[in-house]
């Protein structure tokens, strides 16, 4: 910034004689859109892509080499073909107690559709796909000193698990970013997330995490970034009523009206609802019940249609922290290991109507 100002001043002085000066305007600085500013230590993830003019054989060879070292990406054209089986995670026998914090999962919101309960009630559900999750790293409590500590109770006694999702082509990523995955035994992933866990819930790097980490009937908290609506007025942003379309109203159909009183309180009070940027914020929606699970596609159906974010957006799933909905019985701890013994891909909660059953009928009392 400073440099460009000096540069401009120099330019002015140099071109003082001739009357024309050109000022470069290269960006839309006038738009006050909240921008993501990453911290200085943040790693750049993707490389700039150039056309390298490789021959076809060499291009093939480079792709093949990526496949040799890291395995093929599990998601091709949005269809999850197989989960990469990595090294067997050591199962340290720790029994679950109510106070323990487990790892969470990274998922994608893939859509919504209705299900019906056995009493005929229709419920709306959101489908979350757990796309190819693997543990990347575990940081024990004594080493875990985050620059921006998350607001978690007893943080000093908690470790941190780094989870990655969705394998990708390492040629698209920077060297620094792929370095994160060096000791994990897993290929580089598109998405990373950290989960604060109890040291008992430690997981070995390379452990695959899938939808069986949660069971049907459990409650989960889902964290995601809400849909970005941009700069919005009060009617859309806060649900104000606006003013009538006719009856002498001029130029104030969708405006807020009065924003404060006079006298001693003669100012705009902090927190007054006004136009501004809407959405694109992190939000957690808590206590959603898992109604159904599909183990083939790693999909879970959770309650409601208010999971933050657009369809296709990333969300993080945690065990709920709501005291009355917390796990009462032991969930798979530290995560689900081994193969499932079941005939069908679908696991239904007992209250949900399975479409394989006949129509719902009511009995006479």
């Amino acid at each position: 910034m400073m440099r460009s100002v000096i540069h401009q001043l120099l330019g002015l002085r140099l071109s003082g004689g001739c009357g024309v000066t050109l000022t470069q305007v290269r960006d839309k600085g006038h738009l006050s859109r909240p921008r993501l500013r990453n911290p200085q230590w943040f790693l750049r993830k993707e490389v700039t892509r150039y056309d390298d003019h490789l021959t076809t054989e060499n291009k093939q060879f480079v792709n093949e080499l990526g496949g040799v070292n890291f395995g093929v990406p599990a998601i091709k054209k949005d269809v999850q073909e197989n989960l990469i089986k990595t090294k067997d995670a050591a199962t340290n026998e720790v029994t679950w107690t109510p106070g323990l914090r487990r790892c969470g999962l990274i998922a994608r919101k893939i859509g919504q559709y209705p299900l019906w309960l056995k009493n005929g009630e229709r419920i709306r559900t959101t489908l979350l796909q757990i796309a190819d999750n693997h543990v990347i790293k575990y940081i024990p409590p004594e080493e875990y000193l985050p620059a921006q500590p998350p607001k978690v109770h007893n943080l000093k006694k908690r470790g941190c698990i780094l989870v990655g999702s969705e394998s990708t082509n390492p040629a698209l990523l920077t060297k620094e970013y792929t370095g994160i995955f060096r000791d994990s035994g897993v290929g580089p992933k598109k998405n990373l997330a950290r989960f604060i866990v109890s040291p008992e819930a430690e997981l070995v790097p390379g452990t695959p995490l899938n939808v069986n980490h949660f069971g049907v009937g459990d409650f989960v908290d889902v964290r995601g970034k809400t849909v970005d609506h941009g700069f919005q007025g009060v009617v859309k942003r806060h649900g104000f009523k606006g003013m009538p379309a006719s009856h002498g109203v001029t130029k104030t159909h969708r405006r807020a009206g009065n924003i404060g009183g006079g006298g001693e309180k003669g100012r705009v009070w902090p927190g007054t609802k006004m136009p501004g940027h809407m959405g694109n914020r992190w939000r957690i929606i808590k206590g959603l019940r898992v109604w159904r699970i599909n183990t083939k596609y790693n999909v879970m159906w959770v309650q409601g249609s208010s999971v933050p974010g657009p369809t296709g957006g990333l969300v993080y799933i945690y065990d709920t922290i709501l005291p009355l909905r917390k796990n009462k019985e032991a969930p798979p701890f530290p995560t689900f290991f081994g193969e499932l013994q079941q005939t069908s891909d679908d696991v239904w909660y007992e209250k949900v109507h399975d479409f394989k059953n006949g129509s719902i009928t009511y009995e006479n009392e």
């Binding site: 050109l22 390298d52 003019h53 490789l54 021959t55 054989e57 060499n58 060879f61 080499l65």
Partner: protein
């Protein structure tokens, strides 16, 4: 959630289609927008390569693709297609070009019928994104530089050697 329109049946386009249309700036509203695009499509069919603003080219590209794909699908005896061609091609001799020249040219294509490039912007000047839109198989020289002789580039030479080395190491594994 709404239902897909089943009365219309079209072939899939081989280009990336934006989810929403652009309202190209026009005083006459949607009808004027279509007139603007008709002019572009006509010019494209006539000259086979045109240079224009990116947004307008991108919008017109879909219409040109669909016009050609419908012409291939239904032929010149199909009334609705003929009406479409009559509407979209402002110069009537181009209707003949569409059915007699372009349809035979593209009948066995498995890629898109048009191609779009980003063109450099003027500076200083009108600071809109520029583009070049062309029909594939046109008689003009290619806009892209030829890289068929790129085997001698340094990284290609090195990669060639690396590949040979890799194959040599892999060979014993394959034999066993």
């Amino acid at each position: 959630m709404n239902q897909a329109d089943v009365t219309k049946l079209m072939s899939q386009l081989r280009i990336a289609v934006r989810p929403n249309k652009r309202n190209l700036k026009n005083a006459d509203g949607p009808e004027g927008r279509l007139l603007k695009l008709r002019k572009t499509v006509t010019a494209l069919v006539k000259h086979e390569r045109i240079e224009l603003f990116y947004n307008r080219a991108d919008e017109a590209r879909g219409y040109a693709e669909l016009l050609i794909s419908n012409a291939i699908r239904h032929g010149d005896r199909h009334k609705a297609t003929m009406e479409l061609a009559d509407y979209w091609l402002l110069e009537k001799q181009l209707v003949h070009k569409l059915f007699r020249v372009l349809v035979p040219r593209y009948e066995n294509y498995s890629v898109s019928y048009t191609r779009m490039y980003k063109a450099p912007r003027d500076y200083p000047g009108i600071y809109y994104r520029q583009s070049v839109l062309e029909l594939r198989g046109n008689p003009y020289p290619s806009l892209l530089t030829d890289h068929s002789q790129n085997r001698s580039l340094l990284h290609n030479v090195l990669l060639d050697e690396a590949r040979k080395e890799f194959r040599r190491q892999k060979l014993p594994e394959l034999v066993i």
